[in-house]
């Protein structure tokens, strides 16, 4: 069995060299909120600054 007869994917719909995808069908994906804003966030940042050793 060989790939002599392998063909360029005919499903290529986009112009990019490494993209053989169907027609675009966009879907909105809003960013979710996971962190509370306010003084707690500030306190957490402060605690991290003290507790965590940042790598250069």
């Amino acid at each position: 069995m060989t790939l002599q007869d392998a063909t360029t994917p005919t499903s290529a719909m986009a112009g990019e060299a490494e993209n053989w995808m169907p027609p675009a069908a966009p879907l909105a994906m809003p960013r979710q909120s996971l962190e509370r804003r306010g003084h707690l966030a500030g306190l957490a940042d402060l605690a991290r600054a003290f507790l965590l050793r940042r790598k250069a």
Binding site: L3, A14, E18, M29
Partner: protein, 601 residues
């Protein structure tokens, strides 16, 4: 399809299962802490003893929580999950395979096998390979394999491939980019890993479940490990087949509609996922900030927050994955998961989450921090002996016979047996359950099955101190700001030599030797209690090397050994043929699309 707004409340059986597990855990923990406190009080209760009691309370609660999963899985009642028929017209479904620096031959051979199985099951589905591969030469090989896949499956127009220019957000970002760009074309997406295999009938049943229940946002299967060859790999594989379904049934009973997502071998409702699961970056730098690494649990929590059901169904067979083959690859995976899970500490108080989701995040953090707590218990136990008053044999002024100190050996022995029981009894109960039902037939019959269970218990007991140190090191690394990143899986690792074991495990030997020497010097009475922990540490290189050796079939038999499922057998035969005719050495480091037609085997 309107988004759900009201979160689904846990039903009666789910609340009951949770209450039982909590009571069992807290009861066991309280008993263990009381035993330790009583033993410690014999020579005066110090602050160190109080700390030890707290540590024993936390660690025992965690062990009992795991045991309760098995007990609920064995004894709890649960209605059989529904098996609706797939109605016409079939929902638009895509099988998505995000990959990153994987072996192209095996990855695309798996897709070819799943494609055949899906066709046999009468399912209409597209496939999409979502490559995040950074290595251009490897990406060229992926495209070579993709061309072959298209030709052999006549997959033009239904099997797709794309490679991202960057890998922002890693795997979660990879899937998100696909949903943002192409998600509108599909109702459901089956998410697979590069090493996943799923039967067409299983995928058909999953689609039918999603079709029949419009509130179901995600359905997770229990992937069982296949293809293991080493002693360690086959033990893990056996556990996934033998213990896995029972523990997962307990999990399903306890989690109800707020179930887990393990990132693959699951089906999602695309619009629900798009509306609910756009992950933000966490504030601050890695390791605790930045991209969310263990994204699957977060996505499950977000679906539940938006009012979608997330369920796990361990009765859906035909769902497979590969597992680590030796201790080192297991520990590397644990390092990745540790960093991801510790990030969950920041999400416990995320707004509007279901209470159970918060508890799951707490569990994910505890799963790794508990090793540090065990280590702290061992250290404080040694320290507390320094502060213990010396025994007084003649407390009275005119005493003829000495008064020997109360050794409190009874309490300590009970405590040790209790901890051991929480680890071992659930597995033994699963063994008894299997002996009483027809499960033994699938695992090499009663004697071989019992031997496999006992050997797995011995192996996990021997490896537990090593895992304790690996977990503790991982937690310390993350808390000290070291970002381990999310390196690609290293699958199919070979056998490790003793030299490999020594290189990787000498730090464990060193720690074991230091602990043993220190305890012998400070508190020789404790040495014997420390041996079950210290001896495996001293033998770490040997254990690492020896467990990576190939294990002939016999021990750790699983149903797949005797009768491989169609999709697995097909995958093996496709791999055999492709390996014989695979020649991609001529591929240029940076192939262009135009190179593809000229790729020769």
């Amino acid at each position: 399809m309107a988004p759900q707004h009201r979160q689904i409340a846990a039903d009666g059986p789910t609340r009951f299962a949770r209450a039982v597990a909590l009571l069992l855990s807290l009861g066991s923990a309280a008993l263990a802490a009381t035993l330790l406190a009583e033993a410690a009080a014999r020579d005066g209760f110090s602050g160190w003893d109080g700390l030890r009691a707290l540590l024993v309370f936390a660690t025992t609660a965690w062990l009992a929580w795991g045991a309760s999963l098995a007990l609920i899985g064995l004894f709890g009642s649960r209605s059989t999950p529904p098996r609706p028929a797939l109605e016409a017209p079939q929902p638009r479904t895509v099988i998505a395979v995000p990959i990153c620096n994987e072996d192209p031959l095996t990855t695309f051979a798996r897709i070819a096998a799943i494609d055949r199985s899906v066709a046999r099951a009468g399912v209409t589905a597209d496939f999409v390979v979502l490559s995040d591969t950074r290595d251009d030469a490897l990406a060229g090989k992926e495209q070579f394999a993709f061309a072959r896949l298209l030709r052999e499956t006549e997959g033009q127009g239904r099997i797709f491939y794309r490679r991202r220019q960057d890998n922002a957000g890693r795997k979660a970002g990879n899937i998100e980019e696909f949903i943002r760009s192409y998600g509108g074309a599909y109702d459901f997406a089956v998410i697979l890993d590069a090493d996943s295999l799923m039967e067409g009938e299983t995928i058909r049943a999953m689609i039918a479940r999603m079709q029949a229940d419009p509130q179901l946002g995600l359905l997770q299967t229990l992937p069982k490990i296949i293809g293991a060859r080493s002693f360690f790999g086959r033990a893990l594989q056996f556990a996934s087949w033998f213990h896995g379904p029972i523990f997962t049934r307990g999990l399903a009973r306890m989690q109800g509609a707020t179930g887990p997502f393990w990132g693959h071998n699951a089906i999602i409702r695309v619009r629900a996922f798009a509306e609910s699961c756009g992950l933000p970056e966490l504030s601050g730098p890695p390791p605790l900030g930045g991209h969310i690494l263990s994204h699957d649990y977060v996505e499950a929590a977000l679906l539940a927050r938006a009012g979608w059901k997330v369920e796990v169904d361990e009765t859906l067979s035909g769902s497979f994955e590969e597992g680590p083959e030796n201790v080192l690859s297991f520990a590397r995976r644990e390092r990745r998961w540790c960093q991801g899970n510790l990030q969950h500490a920041r999400l416990i108080f995320a707004p509007d989450l279901a209470g159970w989701s918060r508890f799951v995040f707490l569990q994910n953090v505890t799963a790794y921090v508990v090793s540090l707590l065990w280590a702290a218990f061992l250290i404080t136990s040694a320290i507390s002996t320094l502060y213990a008053p010396p025994p007084e044999y003649f407390p009275g002024p005119y005493q003829l016979f000495p008064v020997f100190p109360d050794t409190s050996a009874r309490e300590i022995t009970l405590l040790a047996l209790g901890v051991l029981g929480l680890l071992v009894v659930p597995k033994l109960l699963i063994l008894i359950h299997a002996l009483l039902t027809d499960r033994a037939r699938d695992f090499g019959r009663a004697l071989r099955m019992a031997l496999s269970v006992l050997t797995e218990i011995v192996l996990t007991t021997l490896l537990a101190p090593l895992m304790l140190l690996y977990h503790s090191r991982s937690v310390m690394q993350v808390l000290s700001g070291q970002d381990g990143g999310w390196p690609a899986n290293q699958r199919n690792e070979g056998q490790l030599s003793l030299a490999d074991g020594w290189t990787a495990g000498r730090w464990i030997v060193f720690i074991g030797a230091v602990i043993l020497a220190a305890v012998q010097w400070v508190a020789p009475d404790l040495t014997v209690w420390l041996l079950p922990v210290a001896v495996p540490m001293l033998l770490a290189p040997l254990l690492i090397a020896w467990t990576s050796r190939p294990l002939p079939r016999g021990l750790f038999a699983v149903p797949e050994d005797a009768a491989p499922r169609d999709v697995v057998a097909e995958y093996d035969s496709i791999c055999d043929v492709w390996r014989l005719t695979w020649n991609d050495e001529h591929l240029k480091p940076e192939p262009k699309a135009a190179d593809l037609p000229h790729a020769t085997a």
